[in-house]
Symmetry: C3
Subunit: 347 residues, 3 copies
């Protein structure tokens, strides 16, 4: 595609030769002739001088030897450019002859169902949805339009999935929540977990992430939330809109997570808590109490991030502080000895 | 079901109108007309005044406007009530025509094997067991009676699984343990992991949990243990009876975990340790040493929880302590200056 | 197998009766008559007196009642012995009639493809490779020679896998990286993740581990690296040769990990970092900055392990240090009161 056409389709201001033929999108370090790259993080601005890319998407300002596509939002334009060049991996419509679809399942005519997909009785799949090989769709599950269900995904019975939802490979939605009652003899009785699980529109779940089903009420992930790989969403959790959770986060049962919350990788969140809108938990923190809207927390137990950073800085100096306390003790003992030869403890 | 019948089946004392028709079990907040709810945690007692539930399972004592089912163990009665109302999702007996079962596999007549299930040579499956679609049962694996193997589970060769075991979707039992020997050139030689893996009766493993196989000896999970999602049980680990492990716990190789141990979410436990009967490790703790029976540990490295809590409370005040040390140093310097103008260090 | 033959095949010096028939390899505690065991860790040397094993692999030196196979590298000889006794679980060559292989996929004649395996258009599989049931191999993926792909693995489109690679069950290679751009309205736009994922020769990935695909550039795991279960390798990460990662490690996007790095279990590593050759991160540590070659780091944020251990030792004594500061304050106040009845703060 000619650079001039790209400029137009991406809504960027062209600077340089519009006739350059772009064949690929590439990172700024590995880009070469024919490649379009981007600069979104000013930390990498120095690479503008050395990049071998044919053209660069970037904001107004920085000087660049290559041709430029200028835009106030280089990262968004980059995303759009990647989309233009992405290979179309959508399989054709139709149900593979080696799929097993229950007679009463309702599939839109415009769906693609791969080999070894099982779709249970009463399930429904909307137009434009692709179900890749070896996925299983439980009895009565409802999947909306334009979803992508990757291979080896398990969607359990009666789960409800909205439109444009993407489930990466190995995701499990609607597995039984971890609910047991201890009997007097120390064994545990399983509480059947048969209530609702709802994944709203535009949600994406990363590979091997699990979303559990509760005994009563519902587990719900709201519109636009994006969750990375190997995350655990326990039974009865409510996740707000446009939430971001990095990989390996775990959220315990019945916790309520507000819109636009952000969790770093490996964060753990206790059960029955409320995480306020827009709150942030830094990677690996352990959230044991509810968090106010907009707060940023760190550490275990998670506290205000600034406060935690101050304590953490001192943690590193603990051996020195201990030594200074010992020195003070010696000096004070000496001072007290001066006034009291017995060195008696005056406290 | 009439409330009076429910009272009888749950062994509760009925208080109020036994003719109320109950149609659903629900949480105390979302319950409405026709719903039976429960109160097990006194923290929620104030909700008794406002619940719209038709009836409430609770202990003797608290006043409640709705009809009541009184019992000393409301949570157990709730579990039983959920069971009464749970939809029966057991698929019919029989082997799906698109399953692949080895000619010499021994399947009881009363089993349900879903589509795209592979059962290897010499494997055995007991009466009442359900194997959902896309599960794989390796060569020579033995599965007991009344188990539920959910979709996309992998049971590897020669694994032995007891009765009434539930494996949630994506579970892997018997994958190769992480065993390598470093060669002189820095590469690693794989130690074949071909020994035994045993999951005893009444165990439940959560979605995408993995239990590894050792080179020698066995990995064993004993009767009645319940493990949540995304947990890692390494090769050669021995897990006792009625143990509880929350999500994302990891236990390293050859560790021995006693009966009735409890691990909170994201706990990590080192290899070759002994965790005594009934010990508890709080969420996210990192257990690097063996733990005494009945102990409760926290933090990394995990120490006695009370001790950890005391240190943790001071951690938060470290910047203040540092300032107080600095103030003391200034004061002591001043005091020493009074007696020695040179301010010589007397220590 | 006779012990004398084993000695020859393992390259060990035989000490004792070479006619003993060895039937199994076992751990030193559970070994009995007919068993060969090993002693690699001197911590277990005292068990030499009580073992019931028929023979022991061990280094020169320790006295042992049983027959001995002496070698300078007992653990390597043990690995070789386990291999000699390992049951051959390789299924026969051929494509199962219930596999679905695209017409233009190129499969070597000497491959084994199990039931319900889907191999997409243009994919290639090399000689000697085994693909177990219910695995999916995406369009255009390339798999080398002598690999083992266990059941329920997902290999996505265009992934490249070298020779002798082992993927345990449930592994996902090439799932979409977690790449989104925030729009002005708080929603997020997906950046298509369509670039390269390469797993080089002799890599092993543990059960349910995930390796993500980037938008540009590549995700690459280099030769000889061994990764345990439930690990997350994010998009654009580069992992060096002969790296070891224990279970549940998470590495964020674009981080560069040098050769022979070692990560303990549950380690978290931030994005865009460089981890130098041979560096070690202790279990559960949280690496937030780049790490020098050969360094060993601990804690969160991860710092030099010796330094961390010193601070950690003091952490445990924080309540005592706080008390000592309070005592000093009382004493200093008393001293100052002696010289100034007003007790004015002199700082």
């Amino acid at each position: 595609m000619k650079l001039s056409e790209l400029a137009e389709r991406l809504g960027c201001r062209l600077e340089g030769d519009g006739d350059i033929e772009i064949v690929r999108i590439a990172g700024i370090k590995e880009a070469g002739p024919g490649d379009l790259t981007f600069l979104a993080n000013s930390k990498y601005e120095k690479l503008l001088a050395s990049t071998r890319a044919a053209a660069v998407i970037l904001k107004e300002g920085p000087v660049c030897a290559a041709a430029c596509l200028r835009t106030p939002q280089p990262y968004l334009a980059f995303a759009a450019a990647v989309r233009l060049f992405a290979p179309d991996s959508r399989p054709p419509d139709g149900v593979h002859p080696l799929a097993a679809v229950a007679a009463d399942a309702r599939l839109d005519a415009h769906v693609s169902v791969g080999a070894f997909v099982w779709i249970g009785p009463g399930a429904a799949v909307g137009a434009g949805t692709v179900i890749h090989p070896n996925a299983t769709i439980g009895e009565g599950a409802i999947i909306g339009r334009d979803c992508v269900i990757h291979s080896n995904v398990s969607i359990r019975e009666r789960v409800v999935i909205g439109d444009r939802v993407i489930l990466q490979n190995g995701v499990v939605v609607g597995g039984d929540g971890y609910g047991f009652v201890r009997r007097a003899d120390g064994t545990h009785e399983k509480i059947p977990q048969t209530a609702a699980v709802i994944i709203e529109d535009d949600v994406e779940l990363g590979a091997n992430t699990t979303v559990d089903r509760p005994a009563v009420g519902e587990t719900r992930i709201r519109r636009g939330t994006k969750i990375d790989n190997l995350v655990m969403i326990a039974h009865g959790v409510s996740v707000g809109r446009n939430v971001l959770m990095a990989a390996q986060v775990g959220v315990a049962g019945s916790t309520d997570i507000g819109d636009e919350v952000v969790f770093g990788g490996q964060v753990g969140v206790g059960g029955h808590l409320t995480i306020g809108r827009g709150a942030v938990a830094v990677g690996q923190s352990g959230v044991t109490n509810s968090v106010d809207p907009g707060a940023m927390v760190s550490g275990y137990p998670a506290i205000d991030s600034r406060e935690w950073r101050r304590s953490s800085a001192v943690f590193r100096r603990l051996p020195e502080l201990k030594r200074r306390i010992e020195e003070l003790e010696a000096k004070v003992a000496a001072l007290m000895g001066d006034e009291d030869d017995e060195g008696a403890d005056i406290t």
